[in-house]
């Protein structure tokens, strides 16, 4: 057994909590938008199928929100429990977005409660739709503010640190640090994209299981359309993120790309493995691509890992995470494009079994992409907790019981994870859409 080191255990526990939380947080950010879209379509087209879609999504959403809220509470409190010295500094410089995040969360919580219990309370359905807007603003807003906090850790700005004393603080500058624009937009777009695919996966799976009702096809069309838009958005922002990294955190980009020598016309390496003396084997080289990703021109010089001291470098395995994230992103974009070509092309069959299976597989993959992306981003700024200011080890608690807490929380997340999937499965299995569709058609509400 290695010696007990609270910093190591704090890192593991924080990544465990965050890794679990971001699944539900992503759903919390993206799904309200999808629900609102479906409700809007239902009202505008006077099509009860879309309204039913919104309702069924909302029903499952509540369950995931509960887990998102409680794990979010966990990480909110754990920040102070596990990283007290870091929070001392962060409290001085970056408390503002954290504070704003709670207000956004408040709005979301209040209006979600109202939204869920007022489906039939207004004479005009559009009033109910308007209630979804504060939910979307609240959930996306809290994602935005919390990501600003994380951006600050990557690109600290707006303060001066001298001998452990922090002075000359500009809260707005700290919030709108260089990493903020790309991080926030990448987080939002990828969350919307992931949720579109999670819901598309469900629709595709239902069609594959022989559900013939047009309801499922409408669900697939809506989710894939949004998927296409956000896939393109995510890719564009991803490219901008690369340019941000090249300028402000070149060591992260270099580590992600196994780029050792500072050279111009730098190639991009896909896949491969790294030998012990830092040679890349079996990698696929794309000439100029890294220069283009980093600076937008094929001849640009890209800074390499050899320029840095070894103790300032992140671990090099993040290359695999980066590649996996990008590959999944490309795969998602390809699927949405294919779906559209097949839809528009008269002889095409957008419900081909292979395509549907690919969409089913893409749903969990998109969640993996979120996880890979976050691990890449977080591990990529090691050894810093505040890049350039505070090493991760200096921020950690000195408590002697982090290991026990780690096991306790591991158990908690296991139980919650299993429970939530079982509850969701039985929820939809015991009340299949067919039954509700039948009720809809019986009531004569379906005019088409």
């Amino acid at each position: 057994m290695p010696q007990y080191d609270p910093a190591v255990y704090s890192r593991i526990l924080t990544s465990l909590t965050l890794g679990f939380h971001i699944i539900f947080a992503t759903i919390g950010v993206g799904v309200p938008l999808m629900i609102a879209l479906a409700e809007w379509m239902g009202i505008k087209r006077n099509d009860p199928h879309y309204t039913l879609l919104a309702r069924r999504w909302a029903r499952g959403f509540v369950i995931t929100v509960a887990v998102g809220v409680v794990t979010g509470t966990s990480i909110g409190i754990q920040l102070s429990l596990l990283w007290p010295s870091f929070m001392r500094i962060a409290g001085q410089a970056i408390a503002l977005p954290l504070f704003m995040e709670t207000f956004a969360f408040f709005v979301e919580a209040i209006f979600l409660g109202i939204y869920l219990y007022t489906w039939d309370r207004f004479k005009k359905p559009i009033y109910h739709f308007w209630l979804s807007i504060p939910i979307i603003l609240g959930s996306s807003g809290s994602a935005m503010f919390i990501t600003m906090m994380n951006s600050f850790m990557n690109a600290p700005a707006g303060f001066t640190l001298e001998d452990g004393k922090i002075t000359n603080i500009q809260p707005i500058l700290a919030m709108l640090n260089p990493a903020t624009p790309t991080k926030v937009s990448h987080v939002l777009f990828s969350a919307y994209l992931t949720c579109a695919f999670i819901l598309a996966g469900i629709a595709a799976y239902s069609i594959l299981k022989g559900r013939k009702h047009v309801y499922y096809k409408k669900a697939l069309k809506l989710t894939m359309t949004t998927g296409l838009i956000f896939a393109i958005g995510t890719a564009v922002v991803g490219d901008l993120s690369g340019k941000y990294l090249a300028e402000y955190q070149p060591e992260k980009l270099a580590a992600a790309e196994w780029h050792f020598e500072t050279i111009e016309k730098a190639p991009l390496i896909l896949g491969g493995i790294l030998t012990e003396d830092n040679e890349v084997k079996f990698g696929l080289q794309i000439p100029y691509a890294l220069s283009i990703l980093a600076h937008g021109t094929p001849n640009a010089v890209v800074k390499g890992l050899n320029e840095y001291k070894a103790e300032d470098l992140p671990p090099l395995y993040i290359h695999y995470l980066f590649d996996a994230m990008v590959a999944i992103g490309m795969f998602l974009m390809l699927l949405t494009l294919l779906y559209f070509i097949l839809r528009k092309w008269r002889k095409g069959n957008p419900h081909h079994r292979l395509l549907l299976w690919a969409i089913v597989i893409a749903a969990p993959l998109s969640v993996f992409a979120i996880e890979f992306g976050w691990v890449f981003s977080e591990v990529g700024r090691q050894p810093w907790i505040l890049r350039g200011f505070m090493r991760t080890n200096e921020g950690a608690t000195t408590s002697e019981h982090v290991d026990i807490m780690l096991y306790l929380f591991l158990l908690l997340y296991l139980v919650l994870g299993i429970a939530v999937s079982r509850v969701l499965r039985t929820l939809f299995r015991n009340n299949p859409a067919e039954a509700e569709l039948l009720a809809l058609e019986d009531s004569g509400a379906d005019k088409r």
């Binding site: 309702r55 029903r59 509540v62 369950i63 929100v65 509960a66 887990v67 809220v69 409680v70 794990t71 979010g72 509470t73 966990s74 909110g76 409190i77 754990q78 102070s80 429990l81 596990l82 007290p84 929070m87 001392r88 500094i89 409290g91 408390a95 503002l96 954290l98 504070f99 704003m100 709670t102 207000f103 408040f106 709005v107 919580a109 209040i110 209006f111 409660g113 109202i114 869920l116 219990y117 489906w119 039939d120 309370r121 922090i166 002075t167 603080i169 809260p171 000195t398 408590s399 982090v402 026990i404 807490m405 929380f409 908690l412 429970a419 939530v420 509850v423 039985t426 929820l427 299995r429």
Partner: protein, 342 residues
């Protein structure tokens, strides 16, 4: 008013808000489970669910707000409390996590009113106030020690202290009392006679233990932290007012006069006691290590936080008012005539 005092007042007010809404919530969970055990589930269960369903998520935000705010205004609290509270803090998080998620599983999942879920929900409702009250106990000093670079939490002292146990007792008992009075009011709004009778009995039943355990805390604090006790004696009028409000509330419930007003008096009772306790605690946040003047956040951040706070309230207050109008003061909803869509 200095920024420091303004900051702590804002936070204390939010903590008070949490105390009230969370008490109603925690107590309701317990009563819900208890009524199931005693076979009276059908009497009060639906009343409780109708109130809790739209608001359960909001309760948590009050707590988060306090946590974030205290680190924002007083960054050193993260250092002292953060290190010391790892275990009690984590236990409280785990209980909150179990409670929140199993509430949703029990109410929105397909197997409604699963008995085991209800048990988890009810039991945690009493354990959470106990574990959260530890923080207030710690703030009195004597349980945390700074040795060199380390902040150490003295568990044995906490577990053997009569003061800490009296606070735990007060926390649990007042949760049940606050909750029972509120639910009595809610049942009377719903014109639900049977639920009203039962809840009124609970409210009266928990009133005496509440006032007795508050006195116990008074007594225990005089032995544990005489300095603080002296200051509380200086503010004796606040505690006297608190007692008068208590008497009025019990009278109103006893004579079945005005349940809404009774709940207002319960809120006042706890407001006077809570703010009296808080004012006497000043200027210490953690006795004797930390006062509100030590390492208060810089002025720029304080101003920014206060501005955001005011802007936030501008959004928050109308939203909360809307929530209350739709679910608390809407007679049709309270009486169950508008069915929540499933």
């Amino acid at each position: 008013m200095s920024y420091e005092l303004l900051g702590i007042t804002v936070l204390w007010t939010f903590l008070y808000g949490y105390l009230i809404v969370a008490s109603v919530d925690f107590g309701a969970g317990f009563f819900s489970y208890y009524s199931e055990l005693t076979g009276k589930k059908n009497v009060i269960h639906h009343i409780i669910q109708r109130y809790l369903s739209p608001v359960w998520e909001v309760t948590n935000v009050f707590l988060i707000f306090f946590m974030v705010g205290i680190v924002g205004f007083f960054p050193d609290t993260a250092y002292y409390y953060g290190t010391a509270l790892l275990i009690p803090g984590s236990v409280a998080i785990i209980l909150l996590a179990i409670r929140g998620s199993y509430y949703a599983f029990a109410n929105y999942g397909s197997k409604k009113d699963n008995r085991f879920y209800l048990f988890l929900y009810g039991a945690t409702g009493l354990l959470i106030p106990a574990s959260l009250s530890t923080v207030l106990t710690l703030s009195e000093g004597g349980f945390i020690e700074e040795r060199g670079n380390k902040v150490i939490f003295l568990y044995e002292k906490l577990f053997t202290s009569s003061y800490s146990w009296s606070v735990v007792l007060l926390a649990i008992v007042s949760v049940l009392y606050i909750s029972a009075v509120f639910l009595t009011y809610y049942a009377s709004r719903a014109n639900d006679g049977a639920a009203l009778q039962l809840l009124r009995r609970y409210a009266l039943g928990w009133s005496m233990p509440t006032i007795l355990s508050s006195m116990l805390v008074f007594f225990a604090i005089s032995r544990h932290n005489p300095v603080h006790f002296e200051r509380m004696v200086d503010l004796f009028w606040m505690f006297a007012l608190s007692f008068i409000c208590f008497a009025v509330a019990v009278y109103l419930v006893w004579t079945r006069k005005a349940y809404g007003l009774a709940f207002v008096f319960v809120m006042l009772q706890f407001a006077f006691a809570f703010f009296g306790y808080g004012a006497a605690h000043m200027p210490h946040i953690l006795y004797p290590y930390l006062t509100i003047y030590d390492n208060f956040t810089n002025d720029t951040m304080a101003v920014a936080l206060i501005v955001v706070f005011i802007l936030g309230l501008l959004v928050l207050i109308p939203s909360l008012a809307l929530l209350m109008r739709l679910f608390l003061f809407d007679a049709k909803y309270v009486q169950g005539q508008t069915k929540p869509a499933k």
